[in-house]
């Protein structure tokens, strides 16, 4: 689905992404981990077209997408949810989803019909159901709970019918219960919707539980990649990343 070759990006002499080459097969679910500042979010910005790489190739769905705008990349089927849920405060959940569906179908220019379009209704209900937001459908998105905002953020991305979904810390800032609810949601999306998923996550329990493959970044370069078992046993990873935090290494040890 997505293949990245030798991706490089610097900001004023600081190399934030150093020759990253990674492969994300169709239908896979991959976690990206690494200490703060490892370049995970930059990697997302690079592949989603928000930031242009200095060098390297990004092949998405058999097409080179380097240099395409984020708009064109979204239209090719790569959708993204953000670390801090970024929503539309004055729209209700239903309105925001309907606007996203309308945008995806290329109906944003219609001025003679009324919003929300009748034709978008079924899809919006489906997305509400999928994200478990039916009871919050008519709430303004700015007064939703934190967890529901993150769910809506993902719902908006799903409205694009993506082939690949990028999730930047889907469980950030959530309590333990909410966190597992969210990750179950992500897992069921991956299983049922057949979407290729790439997510950034700090909680090792979650990473080891649901990821098929784990990529570890450090200082902008790939430190290791492999299955959860391989990563767990990788001394370099434990030392460089997990080893710096006693609590984390314990968590890894327990799993």
């Amino acid at each position: 689905m997505l293949r990245v070759d030798n991706l490089t990006k610097s900001y004023g002499g600081v190399k934030v992404t150093r020759g990253v080459s990674l492969d994300f097969p169709t239908g896979s679910i991959t976690a990206m981990i690494g200490p703060n500042g490892a370049g995970k979010t930059t990697f997302f910005n690079l592949i989603s077209g928000h930031v242009r790489p200095d060098a390297g190739r990004i092949v998405f769905d058999d097409q080179d997408i380097v240099g395409l705008s984020s708009l064109e990349i979204v239209r090719r089927g790569m959708a993204r949810a953000f670390q801090v849920a970024t929503l539309f405060p004055s729209l209700t959940v239903r309105e925001a989803l309907a606007a996203a569906v309308i945008s995806h179908r290329g109906h944003s220019w219609q001025v003679l019909s009324r919003f929300p379009l009748q034709s978008a209704r079924a899809r919006v209900d489906e997305l509400l159901d999928l994200m478990g937001l039916i009871s919050a459908a008519d709430t303004l998105s700015s007064i939703l709970s934190h967890g529901d905002q993150k769910l809506l953020d993902i719902g908006l991305a799903l409205a694009m019918n993506p082939k690949m979904l990028l999730l930047d810390e889907p469980t950030a800032g959530m309590g333990p219960d909410e966190r597992w609810r969210m990750i179950e949601k992500v897992r069921s999306l991956w299983e049922k919707q057949r979407i290729t998923v790439l997510f950034i996550e700090h909680d090792m329990d979650i990473v080891f539980k649901i990821a098929q493959t784990i990529h570890v970044l450090k200082y902008g370069a790939v430190l290791a990649q492999g299955t959860p078992d391989e990563i767990r046993g990788n001394d370099e990873v434990i030392e460089a990343y997990l080893g710096t935090d006693q609590r984390l290494s314990e968590a890894v040890g327990e799993v």
Partner: protein
């Protein structure tokens, strides 16, 4: 959805009948003249609100399109070769093209840069009007009056007919603007207002959408200019001066930007202050200043918005303060 459409139609009809028959109930020419000013400046303010309230684009140079409509219309009529509807159409189309050119440059800029480049274009147009004396009459304005030939049996030399014509035009423009703001396009503009970056990641072409609403808004402002030119039988450089844009922004501040008819309330209030304070005092600027201060500092938003917030709170017990944006707050940064 259907009920909202029905409600819009009912409100539109009420507005139409009230405006249409007010001069019948109070047959004073002064009231009619006053209402035509409200219509002309109301169109300017409401079209500006498509940018500010709906899309979050704070344009400071909106009077450029008001003046463009007025001058194009007046010049065409003075040439004596066109009928009124044709000249109106040509003035709207001409302004649309102008807005397309100016907009194509402006909408790429954000926040204060956008505001000031629109102002720059307006002052450029104003300078052209002032210096191109042979065409525009310079600072004297277009002299000699605008002929009002009869078309389709409608004689706009009759003051009552002229008024009715203005009301019909006004309500028609309002219907267009209302439909647009309630359409998928209108809601896409709300997405852009709330969060342009996220809208971009949801497949919205932010720049093109902004250009679209910029052009529409310019075209609607030109209708305001046409109405005013038709009424005062001339066109003056003040139509395109920055104070005219400033007045439109005052109207938004007084009336509010959240409700569709808010700017109209602001236009009504500001025109009332302009017309009636001058009768009683020569310190009209001071009274105006105090009223604006009271509303901006006291209510912290336009009158219509305050009323709406109050009613909503009473009805639902829900706070909307933390949801609705304050007047003229710049939007978030967006991707380049």
């Amino acid at each position: 959805m259907r009920s909202r459409l029905r409600r819009d139609i009912v409100v539109g009809l009420i507005l139409f009948f009230v405006l249409f028959f007010l001069p019948t109930l109070f047959p004073k020419p002064a009231l009619r003249d006053f209402l035509i000013y409200v219509i002309a400046y109301g169109l300017l303010a409401m079209s500006l609100n498509l940018l500010i309230g709906l899309t979050g684009l704070v344009a400071f140079g909106h009077a450029a399109f008001f003046a463009s409509g007025a001058y194009t219309f007046a010049l065409l009529m003075q040439s004596g070769r066109t009928s009124i509807p044709l000249a109106m159409l040509a003035a709207i189309v001409g302004t649309t093209v102008l807005a397309l050119v100016i907009g194509a440059i402006c909408v790429r800029l954000k926040n204060i840069y956008f505001s000031f480049i629109t102002l720059a274009f307006q002052m450029f147009l104003h300078s052209v009007i002032l210096t191109w004396v042979s065409m525009t009459g310079g600072d004297q304005g277009l002299q000699g009056g605008i002929p009002r030939p009869v078309f389709f049996g409608i004689d706009l030399n009759n003051a009552r007919t002229l008024y009715s014509f203005c009301v019909v035009t006004f309500v028609l423009c309002l219907a267009i603007m209302r439909q647009v703001s309630e359409s998928p396009f209108g809601y896409t503009l709300r997405m852009i207002r709330d969060n342009p970056e996220r809208a971009n990641f949801l497949g919205v072409n932010v720049v093109r959408m902004k250009l679209g609403v910029f052009v529409l808004s310019g075209a609607m402002a030109s209708v305001g200019g046409i109405v005013l030119a038709l009424f005062v039988s001339g066109a003056y450089p003040e139509f395109g001066f920055w104070t005219t844009s400033g007045e439109a922004i005052f109207m938004l501040m007084l009336g509010g930007t959240q409700l569709f008819l808010g700017p109209l309330a602001g236009a009504l209030l500001l025109e009332a202050l302009n017309h009636y304070i001058t009768i009683y005092t020569e310190y009209h600027g001071m009274v105006l200043g105090v009223v604006i201060l009271v509303i901006v500092l006291g209510l912290r938003r336009g009158i219509a918005d305050s009323l709406f917030a109050y009613v909503t709170r009473r009805r639902r017990g829900r706070r909307i303060d933390d949801v609705k944006r304050p007047i003229l707050q710049p939007t978030k940064n967006e991707p380049a």
